[in-house]
């Protein structure tokens, strides 16, 4: 288990007042499960009908895009959810 910092944009999160969270998880899938279980996000916000991560949302671990749900998390990692359509 590793404690990670999660940035949840208002677009994704349910409780509009929280934007940063500290969560314990050992990989991305666990983290996503935690977010859903603790009611921070709705499952169908992030996943499509086929259960796949929506194409137009990117997850970054310490600034690197990661789409593999079994990607490991380490203590102090920064996990951010960012829409692809931004910038430039």
């Amino acid at each position: 288990m590793a404690k990670v910092e999660v940035f949840l944009p208002s677009l994704v999160r349910k409780n509009k007042n929280i934007s940063k969270l500290s969560i314990e998880a050992s990989n991305l899938k666990e983290l996503l499960d935690q977010l859903v279980k603790n009611d921070y996000v709705d499952k169908d916000k992030l996943f499509d009908e086929k259960g796949e991560l929506k194409r137009l949302i990117n997850i970054y671990i310490n600034g690197k895009i990661e789409r593999r749900l079994d990607a490991n998390l380490n203590e102090g990692d920064e996990v951010s959810f960012i829409p692809t359509v931004a910038g430039g």
Partner: protein, 423 residues
């Protein structure tokens, strides 16, 4: 969408009556006018919806209007605040490039010279709209993520409207672009990383610190400014669309906006056909869109470490990438060129037409040359090449690539051996 959608408009200044709302490009969900930029269902990009039935517009209306991008107010969300429009962005010259055309083997070539905007790149257009959007929504500060040119454009308009400006750039962009942006009083943060790192941080900053990041949370308004690049070209060609237009492309925002501009002109009956060959021009060292196009993909593979002298085009994860690919499927081309070809492009343009461009302009010219040589652009097609930024912003580019000045003592005899062409 019902009348209730108009409620928030009353609190936003400058917004025009025929601006109805925002619409998701992917799922079609509609939203009221607000500082939103992606759909809350599918994260697709939002675009402004206009009700063109509410307006009457004819070509002759333009006669009495100012020569700035604001002359096309029917196609823009906002009426210009004076202090934004008075710096006179847009309506840049469309130049018939006879010598360059001849050199390349074309009959009709035009250069849209956007180097001559107030901050010396096309970014004046989207920044003017983006900063107006921030004012309209009552935001207290603005900013952007930038590969260089948007930094100065945003900072200049922020200065004009008296808002603080925060800019996030990747470390290592051209020095002149940074000092220009600093001159306007902006606070610049350089990130040890790529543009995509800067962009991600700016997206987070927009939310955490409530900043109007013009190309992020104000993006639907911002991109409308670049649409005027299509409107001007159509007017300057006496209301005919070109056959081919070439756009130096990074995020794809400008390319999409230009396409949308031509589409809206067609919708209003102001032109009678769309350009048949829109061209995306990229640098080989950062070509996520042209690579996907050539490989027949409908998705982007991120370029993790862009490596090109065209710093302004170094976006490895283009926000509008998938939308650009979608458009190219309907017709169009994408091509990329090496740093050496980019430098040749800059020189070709300067030496034949007297226009000194930054590498993005060199990319457009080099791609034009390549496509003509490959027979993908034909001799009798009418071509418009967008040259989007001035060479004065990137003095590093030609260092060592042009002849050094010849140093002499101040006596006329020393000129004799040099200025032989005078005899």
């Amino acid at each position: 969408m019902g009348g209730s959608s108009l409620t928030s408009k009353k609190t936003s200044r400058f917004i025009q009556e025929h601006v109805v709302g925002l619409k998701c490009r992917d799922c079609g969900k509609e939203f009221e006018i607000a500082p939103l930029y992606v759909c809350d269902e599918c994260f697709g990009a939002l675009d402004i919806i206009y009700d063109f039935e509410k307006i009457s517009f004819s070509k002759s209306d333009l006669k009495s209007r100012e020569n700035t991008l604001w002359r096309y107010k029917e196609f823009l969300p906002f009426e210009a605040p004076e202090y934004v429009s008075e710096i006179k962005a847009g309506f840049t010259p469309l130049i018939r490039a006879k010598l360059l055309a001849k050199k390349l083997g074309l009959k009709e070539l035009y250069i849209k010279n956007d180097c001559v905007n107030p901050t010396y790149s096309f970014k004046d257009r989207p920044a003017a709209l983006g900063v107006t959007a921030a004012l309209s929504f009552g935001m207290k500060s603005v900013g952007c993520a930038s590969t260089g040119n948007l930094a100065s454009a945003t900072a200049a308009y922020a200065a004009r409207v008296g808002l603080p400006c925060y800019i996030i750039i990747p470390n290592g962009i051209e020095v002149s672009k940074i000092s220009q942006a600093q001159s306007y009083g902006a606070k610049i943060v350089a990130v040890e990383g790529t543009y995509d790192d800067a962009n991600r941080l700016a997206t987070q900053a927009a939310e955490l610190f409530n900043i109007g990041m013009v190309n992020i949370n104000l993006r639907p308004y911002y991109v409308e400014g670049s649409k005027t690049l299509a409107l001007e070209v159509a007017e300057q060609l006496n209301w005919e669309a070109p056959d081919v237009f070439i756009v130096p492309t990074a995020s794809g925002a400008m390319f999409n906006a230009i396409c949308r501009g031509f589409e809206q002109l067609l919708e209003l009956g102001l032109i009678n056909h769309l350009p048949k060959k829109p061209v995306v021009a990229q640098a080989l060292g950062c070509n996520p869109i042209s690579k996907a196009f050539k490989e027949g993909r409908d998705y982007i593979e991120v370029i993790e470490n862009p490596n090109t002298i065209a710093h302004s085009l170094a976006i490895g994860n283009p926000g509008d990438g998938v939308y650009v690919l979608r458009r190219l499927k309907q017709g169009g081309l994408a091509e990329d060129v090496s740093d050496q070809e980019i430098i040749e492009g800059i020189k070709l343009l300067a030496q034949n037409e007297g226009i000194y461009a930054e590498p993005a302009g060199g990319v457009a010219i080099a791609v034009l040359k390549k496509l003509v040589e490959e027979g993908k652009i034909q001799e009798d097609e009418r071509v418009v090449c967008y040259v989007t930024g001035s060479g004065l912003k990137t003095p590093e580019t030609l260092k060592g690539k042009v002849e050094e000045p010849i140093l002499i003592k101040p006596q006329v005899k020393y000129l004799e051996s040099i200025l032989t062409w005078q005899k």
